[in-house]
Symmetry: C2
Subunit: 342 residues, 2 copies
DNA sequence: TTGAAAGCGTTACCAG
DNA sequence: CTGGTAACGCTTTCAA
């Protein structure tokens, strides 16, 4: 009850106020802010002085409504936990800021709403672009996005039928490449751990790449364990590892769907007395923070997550600026990084 | 060149269009959307039908300008990489969505702009609240925030002079508690690793807590190593570990400023043949993803990061709704979790 | 180089 | 329960 006035009228300084103080019209203030060259120096200086004196902060909401551009890009990710999208979001935020745009972040995992709902909520901000990490979309969602005519970038995968644009790599090839790498280091009884049954397109693709390599190399039937009901990837890695070794005790190498899964597998393996990598090679995918040489020293498939985010941001901006030949699909590739675990 | 029209006029369906189709005025559509009870059922149904038929998505920009509420909360974090704020952002996003709000995320680390600039940019969206992770603020920044009269929540710390509200824990107490815990498990020559010289208030506080405990327990002079120029926390942990053991070879326990630092220290220690925890106990802080029992099994100070984010979101909403007695400061506490490393 | 007027799409405020 | 009218704070467009 001490400051009802402040609550009732958190009155922002408006462009009008600045204009009055500087003795010009609002449009001139607007110009001084956005195209300083088009305003005579003395005028501009008076305006700048007024802005500082009043502590004026432009109202982007009004600006956006008027100019019909929000300078906002929305990104929808499952979770930030688990390291997967952390650097991608960093890269995206960075690229956007460099271009004077901001990031609207939505997380989907703990949400009961459908993807359509989430997309609709994002679209209600009239973003200049949308970054999607999910990989699979309902026809309704696709239609909604087409209808909105907003640049869309799908990341961390290269869908055959991208909604609009995509920045990522071939998860299938990555799975195949690591399997072949393990083969090249002498392993012959290679298992796979950590893909989920459903809603995990990327994991499934990695698994399929692994299976393809197995076939090409004549390594026999796949040894893979998947499951649904486990919360964390690390725990999944630990549990699936145990199951895999029970079913195929002579396994000499395990490729994990991600570094988080690999962390669980490596930890459980060491706990159970397996010598990693001598007795059992374990490899991951992602090259997450903790996998580096100063940390777990995990042999992994490095994915340039930061670059994915940055490129996605740039593509949206370019498209927005009317660039006709923005690439539809950018393959950032991957790289096998051999460290201590395989 | 196939659809220049679509590019030139990504014409959004407006409330006007819906109103026309349903044979009502726009304000009735608006009401049907926001207060369905205040609209007669048949009318509402016609409106809903029109909305679906036209694929209408409300324009929050216009709505915000008119209602003077953005339903947007801005969060400024240093980076998403490094696991620290991942679950806090998840918690925040989740709490906000439950209340019909969205998250505007800004990262500061790779930015050359000052905090003032970043805050100003955020404020230009007229957010309903601001979540700050930095810990230290220039007088200009504080003034700007005061001027804006926007709810502000500082997280992961409990400043003595919060700008407005705070959700966190005592970093000093946490440092003290872990040091005492190490003492209780029999360690007497305890080192500290991983605080930066500057711009790292929380790390400094943990170090001070460690030093305080040392004094109280009569454990002699601090053994701490800090440095500035290392990129990743994991690498810092590895490097500082080496330096610490060179200067004080008889050290029998190390408390690390964060789990990332601890990961580096543990890894380097094992690489150099130290038996962890028998010969050398190593503890971290944070209870990050990778530190769990299925992973590194790191003894650590668990910080409820998700809860911090969720509570911050709720506080902003409550404040916005005019709750007079929103707590100024919420201590979420911490908890020592003993696992394999100490 | 500057300005006046007309929106942008929605919601607040009053009427009916 | 429904609607008319006037904002909201800025940018666009057209003139001067």
């Amino acid at each position: 009850m001490t400051e009802p006035a402040a609550l009732k009228s958190p009155k922002w300084v408006t462009m009008q106020d600045v204009a009055r103080m500087a003795g010009v019209s609002t449009i001139t203030v607007s110009r001084a802010l956005r195209m300083p060259d088009k305003v005579k120096a003395p005028t501009r200086e008076r305006i700048d002085a007024a802005i500082r004196a009043l502590g004026y902060v432009p109202d982007q909401i009004a600006g956006s409504l008027s100019s019909r551009e929000s300078r906002l890009v929305a990104a929808l990710v499952s979770t930030m936990a688990g390291s997967i999208f952390a650097s991608t979001v960093d890269g995206l935020a960075q690229a956007l800021r460099e271009q004077g745009h901001q990031l609207l972040l939505g997380t989907t995992e703990y949400s009961s709403e459908s993807e359509e709902q989430l997309i609709a909520t994002a679209l209600s901000r009239r973003p200049d672009g949308l970054v999607l990490t999910s990989g699979e979309h309902t026809p309704a969602a696709r239609q909604m996005l087409a209808h909105a005519a907003v640049p869309v970038v799908e990341v961390w995968d290269l869908p055959e039928q991208p909604i609009d644009m995509a920045v990522g790599f071939s998860n299938h090839e990555a799975g195949r490449a690591m399997t072949r790498f393990l083969f090249d280091t002498g392993r012959r009884r290679i298992g796979f751990v950590g893909a989920m049954q459903e809603g995990d397109r990327r994991g499934r693709l990695r698994l399929m790449g692994y299976e393809a390599a197995l076939g090409e190399l004549g390594l026999g039937a796949p040894r893979s364990v998947a499951d649904a009901g486990i919360a964390s990837m690390v725990e999944r890695g630990a549990r699936n590892f145990v199951e895999l070794m029970q079913r195929w005790p002579d396994t000499d190498a395990i490729f994990c769907a991600s570094d988080s899964v690999a962390l669980g597998a490596v930890s459980e393996a060491r706990r159970r007395g397996f010598a990693v990598p001598e007795q059992l090679a374990i490899a991951g995918l992602g090259d997450f923070d903790f996998a580096g040489e100063h940390g777990l020293a995990l042999t992994t498939v490095r994915i340039p997550g930061y670059a994915i985010g940055a490129e996605a941001g740039r593509m949206i901006i370019r498209r927005k600026q009317g660039d006709q030949d923005t690439p539809k699909s950018v393959d950032v590739g991957f790289e096998i990084v051999r460290r201590g675990s395989a």
